[in-house]
């Protein structure tokens, strides 16, 4: 692998680790697989693209975060106040967002942003060198990481964790679990949208289909990370997610150096998640069948 593609893989790993942060909050902390992600990722990218197009990259990022939070709130309201199943709520918001995203992008499926000022081009003039993208991404990720690890120690953050862990206990401890889920999903999707905004600024375009499969990719990163670092607490969990995301991108980059057709990448991602999630179960079944065989002998 060349140095350029190595740096490229690390950049992608870092920018998509924010996406995985978002999924980590819904999947690992709130214990609900949130499929809104596929839509809120594009929403972030679309909102940011519109503002980059008009020369306001910073405003674009801030509004992308806010719009992502809004998408998360919608999913949470469907789940809590309207009583729709968690998975279905995510699918409904995601589906609805497709139209919203097209609307944001004025009906165009793609917004090219070549030669427009974005935060990466700004940092290139400021930092320079080969690593300017990595530097700016590391700054943003550290910031999000610091805010999240602080947040999950506050009373509100602890309540979010407890809601994912044991709702009965929360209600008995006077925690309004509906409100907590709304907060949790808002934060989760806000970070996902931030990731989408940064991806669109980095790749200098926004595409209506750029979000497909994002849920699976983020789960793959979370799972790879949790294999490498045991998630003893939230801080380690978030660190493992960054590592998992970077390693996932390195694996993909390695696969791309071979003659393997890139169209299989999503299938591989899905297989990685299936194997990782079913591993404990398969292992147990194998142990049981081993015990049975020993018994017969």
């Amino acid at each position: 692998m060349s140095l350029v593609s190595l740096i490229g893989a690390i950049e992608l790993g870092l920018v998509y680790s924010l996406l995985a942060f978002g999924s980590f909050i819904s999947f690992r902390i709130l214990n609900i697989a949130d499929l809104t992600v596929d839509g809120s990722f594009v929403l972030g990218a679309a909102v940011s693209a519109v503002f980059v197009y008009n020369g306001m990259p910073h405003t674009g990022i801030i509004l992308a975060i806010l719009s992502g939070a809004l998408a998360g709130i919608v999913t949470a309201l469907l789940q809590t106040k309207l009583g729709i199943q968690p998975i279905l709520s995510g699918i409904l918001t995601m589906t609805g967002l497709y139209s919203v995203n097209l609307m944001v992008m004025s009906g165009k499926a793609n917004i090219p942003l070549l030669n427009k000022t974005n935060i990466f081009s700004l940092s290139e003039t400021l930092i320079g060198g080969k690593f300017y993208k990595v530097v700016i991404l590391l700054i943003i990720i550290s910031l999000v990481f610091a805010i999240l690890s602080w947040f999950f120690r506050t009373q509100l953050g602890l309540s979010v964790r407890a809601t994912g862990d044991n709702e009965d206990m929360c209600r008995a401890s006077s925690i309004d679990t509906d409100a907590i889920k709304i907060v949790g999903f808002a934060i989760s999707n806000a970070i996902v949208a931030l990731s989408g905004a940064l991806v669109s600024q980095m790749q200098q375009s926004a595409d209506i289909n750029m979000g497909s499969g994002m849920v699976v990719i983020s789960f793959a990163s979370i799972i790879i990370g949790s294999v490498l670092i045991k998630n003893k607490n939230i801080t380690l969990g978030l660190l493992s997610v960054i590592l998992g995301s970077v390693i996932y991108r390195l694996i993909i980059a390695l696969i791309l150096t071979t003659n393997f057709p890139p169209s299989y990448l999503k299938l591989i991602s899905a297989l990685v998640v299936i194997i990782a999630l079913s591993f404990p179960n398969i292992k147990r079944k194998m142990e049981i069948s081993k015990m049975r065989k020993g018994y017969k002998l």
């Binding site: 506050t154 602890l158 964790r161 862990d165 009965d168 008995a172 401890s173 309004d176």
Partner: protein
């Protein structure tokens, strides 16, 4: 302290399965009273607790706690002043969070601290001291995940969580029924100590008639959604399990072979 005024609750209304959970039940509990509640399955004990704690709303009647009408208040806002412990030790604590974190949540919630606040050293010390009072050595396991503890230990922690800040009312729903006899005795002793030391108004459901008579200051026997027998301290002083069953038979004019029918 707690005033329940002709409360009714019907399940599966207007269907062949219609069943009266609570039938025009009234109950007055004064401050500091420790009431034990017995009764067969389906007598309405848990429904009574559900209605008082707000996990169910009653069809009619009124519930007052400390002079405040709480009949239609949502469960989580009642939980500020009602502590509740369930039979299942897994229900009261968050298994993937540490002992310290579980208690911090309970403490910070009940003291109504700002939601963005970080627990202080003082808060942690306060919790440590309370855990030490249990005498189970849990104060040295503040960073252990609750899921690794035994049912008895978890139930003791739930008890601490519910009473860190004195609740106006403590509801104990057969909270020792899922424990082994020794742990059950320990948790029951702890309950008695905490309730008496802090003078907490308490309702306790139990299937163990002898401990119902031994603990607390008043015993209620429920049947078909209403109170069948209400014994004050003097009345139950010399009462044995057998006496109580005979009295129950007389009141309800029903046949019971032995106390198996109640268990």
């Amino acid at each position: 302290m707690l005033k329940i005024n002709s409360v009714s609750k019907t399940f599966n209304k207007n269907t062949p399965d219609q069943h009266k959970g609570l039938d025009n039940l009234s109950l007055n509990v004064s401050e500091g009273e420790f009431v034990t509640i017995i009764g067969g399955n389906g007598a309405g004990k848990s429904t009574l607790f559900n209605v008082v704690s707000g996990s169910m709303l009653c069809d009619s009647g009124m519930i007052e706690l400390g002079g405040e009408d709480i009949t239609y208040e949502p469960e989580h806002s009642r939980a500020f002043f009602i502590g509740r412990i369930f039979q299942d030790p897994m229900k009261g604590t968050a298994p993937n969070m540490t002992v310290g974190e579980n208690l911090i949540i309970a403490y910070m919630r009940s003291t109504k601290k700002s939601i963005m606040k970080y627990p202080s050293k003082k808060d942690k010390m306060f919790i440590r001291e309370h855990l030490a009072e249990l005498g189970l050595g849990l104060e040295d396991r503040m960073n252990t995940k609750i899921g690794l503890l035994s049912g008895g230990q978890r139930q003791a922690i739930t008890l601490t969580m519910a009473t860190l800040v004195k609740p106006k009312l403590l509801l104990l729903d057969e909270h020792t029924a899922a424990l082994d006899p020794l742990s059950a005795k320990n948790v029951l002793d702890l309950t008695n100590k905490i309730v008496l030391d802090n003078n907490i108004t308490t309702l306790m459901i139990t299937h163990n008639i002898s401990s119902a008579l031994a603990l607390g200051s008043r015993t209620i026997m429920m049947d078909s959604g209403d109170i069948a027998i209400d014994l004050n301290t003097d009345e139950r002083k010399n009462m044995s399990v057998q006496d109580l069953l005979i009295k129950f038979n007389r009141v309800k004019n029903k046949e019971f072979d032995d106390d198996n029918a109640l268990l």
